[in-house]
């Protein structure tokens, strides 16, 4: 595992020169004995866990985010509205991506990218729950709309990814105090391109930022590798699942229904990260899913830690570290489950 690879030419690879190939994991666990949380999941799209709070991303017009206690599933309330008002959203912000949920002092807050209007808003979750009154304010109303990724670093710094060059490329850039600039370490990834008229989502990714280690995880949805990097170039590494990096030119030669849907969801924690590995063709995935996904865990240097094999389909997951339980949700079947993973966390010596 691990090599410097200069043999491939861009723009066919959205990867760094330093590629590590992962063909097996040091530990494998089968997740079994699931139970169903006693929560109303009607309209649920996604979810996130922070400390003892469960956040459901829903399609409910008056509660795009619903908050629950993980201790007893007591509902704390619904917040964020769909609409055209100044503090409403045309499309609900995802609790899973393009949003940052973090602690500010003793307050839990969420920084939300408004995809349609190009704004950054701040939701004080703690105060909204305590007062049962949404505490939402606009921090920045001068961001580009329809970004393919918006990654919050702090209130004045963001990493963004937007479609450019007649929809042939997705370009990453850094915004600081309103000024946009290119980051040299990301030139390599920005060179990746497709032919005009092709599916631009071949280059789509979900990007997340780990404050503790100052590192980004970029997870493509149609390529078999992950990119881990820091803006100061301390780390720039590609982790390939398998023996060969997916070639973007070769993918374009395949029919759209044959193309592989690789990763569905990522979660980052202080000391490790996890991704949902689907690895199934688009047509099969949409009509008759046959391959069961797994959750792949890595440390922040990209070293594989464990593969968690699932007995059901999922599109997202998260971990309740207080009760040491893993939750999974599948948006296509509306199945929401939880698993006891005390033994797994103990074996892997993992905590948030």
């Amino acid at each position: 595992m691990g090599c410097e690879n200069d043999s491939f030419e861009h723009p066919n690879y959205m990867a760094f020169n330093n590629v590590e190939y992962v063909t097996e994991f040091p530990e494998t666990f089968s997740l079994q004995n699931k139970s169903i949380p006693n929560i109303d999941i009607i309209g649920m799209r996604n979810f996130a866990i922070y400390d003892s709070i469960l956040i459901l991303n829903t399609t409910k017009p008056n509660g795009l985010w619903s908050f629950y206690s993980l201790l007893n599933y007591q509902k704390y309330g619904d917040h964020l509205k769909r609409g055209e008002g100044p503090l409403e959203f045309m499309q609900g912000p995802s609790a899973s991506s393009n949003s940052k949920i973090t602690n500010e002092g003793d307050q839990l807050v969420a920084f939300l990218y408004d995809f349609q209007k190009g704004r950054l808003l701040k939701l004080n979750i703690t105060k909204s729950i305590e007062t049962n009154n949404q505490q939402l304010s606009i921090l920045n109303d001068d961001l580009p709309p329809f970004l393919f990724n918006f990654t919050f670093i702090d209130s004045s710094r963001y990493l963004i990814k937007k479609i450019e060059n007649s929809n042939r490329q997705q370009i990453r850039s850094f915004i600081k105090d309103g000024h946009e600039s290119e980051i040299s370490i990301l030139k390599k990834l920005n060179q990746a391109s497709i032919v005009q008229g092709e599916d631009y989502n071949i280059l789509s990714t979900i990007t997340k930022y780990n404050n503790k280690n100052n590192v980004f995880l970029e997870m493509p949805i149609g390529l078999n590798y992950l990119n881990i990097y820091s803006l100061d170039s301390t780390i720039a590494k590609t982790i390939c699942i398998g023996e060969k990096l997916n070639d973007i030119e070769e993918i374009q030669k395949q029919s759209p229904e044959e193309r592989i849907y690789t990763f569905a969801n990522s979660r980052i924690y202080d000391d490790f990260l996890g991704v949902v590995f689907i690895n199934e063709g688009k047509k099969n995935y949409q009509t008759n899913r046959t391959k069961l996904p797994s959750i792949l865990l890595f440390d922040w240097n990209g070293h594989p830690l464990a593969e968690l094999k699932l007995e059901n389909h999922i599109t997202s997951f998260d971990i309740d570290f207080i009760n040491q339980e893993l939750y999974t949700f599948d948006v296509h079947s509306d199945e929401f489950f939880k698993y006891d993973i005390k033994d797994i966390l103990t074996t892997l010596k993992l905590a948030n």
Binding site: R45, N46, T59, P61, R82, G83, E84, M90, Q91, S94, S96, S97, N98, F115, Q116, P145, F146, F148, N167, G197, Y200, N201, S204, T205, I206, M219, I221, P256, E257, Y261, A264, N265, K282, K283, Q286, T287, T315, S316, V331, H332, D334
Partner: protein, 90 residues
């Protein structure tokens, strides 16, 4: 006669919806947004987005798609593999 015509119309509409649902393999639960959402998006249509758009879309995190119904980008969505396409002009 009036009532039977109404009944036929309702039956026809239901049959069309069933066929469309079967053909596109998209259940209501999978539909990425509600009719209200579509209506709201229509209200802000004209965002300057042009190109090939898709008539049937489904949920996929990280993907974006140009939806013909509104000619605007829809986040965390992809085209159904059997979706027909049209063109949105900028």
């Amino acid at each position: 006669l009036k009532n039977s015509k109404k009944l036929m119309a309702v039956f026809g509409a239901v049959a069309f919806m069933l066929v469309a649902g079967w053909q596109f393999g998209v259940s209501e639960a999978e539909a990425p947004f509600s009719e209200k959402e579509v209506a709201l998006e229509k209200a802000i249509a004209g965002s300057g987005t042009g190109g090939t758009c898709y008539n049937t879309i489904t949920t996929q995190e990280g993907s974006q798609i140009l939806y013909c119904g509104t000619c605007s980008w829809v986040m965390d969505s992809t085209n159904s593999w059997v979706s027909s396409t049209s063109t949105c002009s900028s």
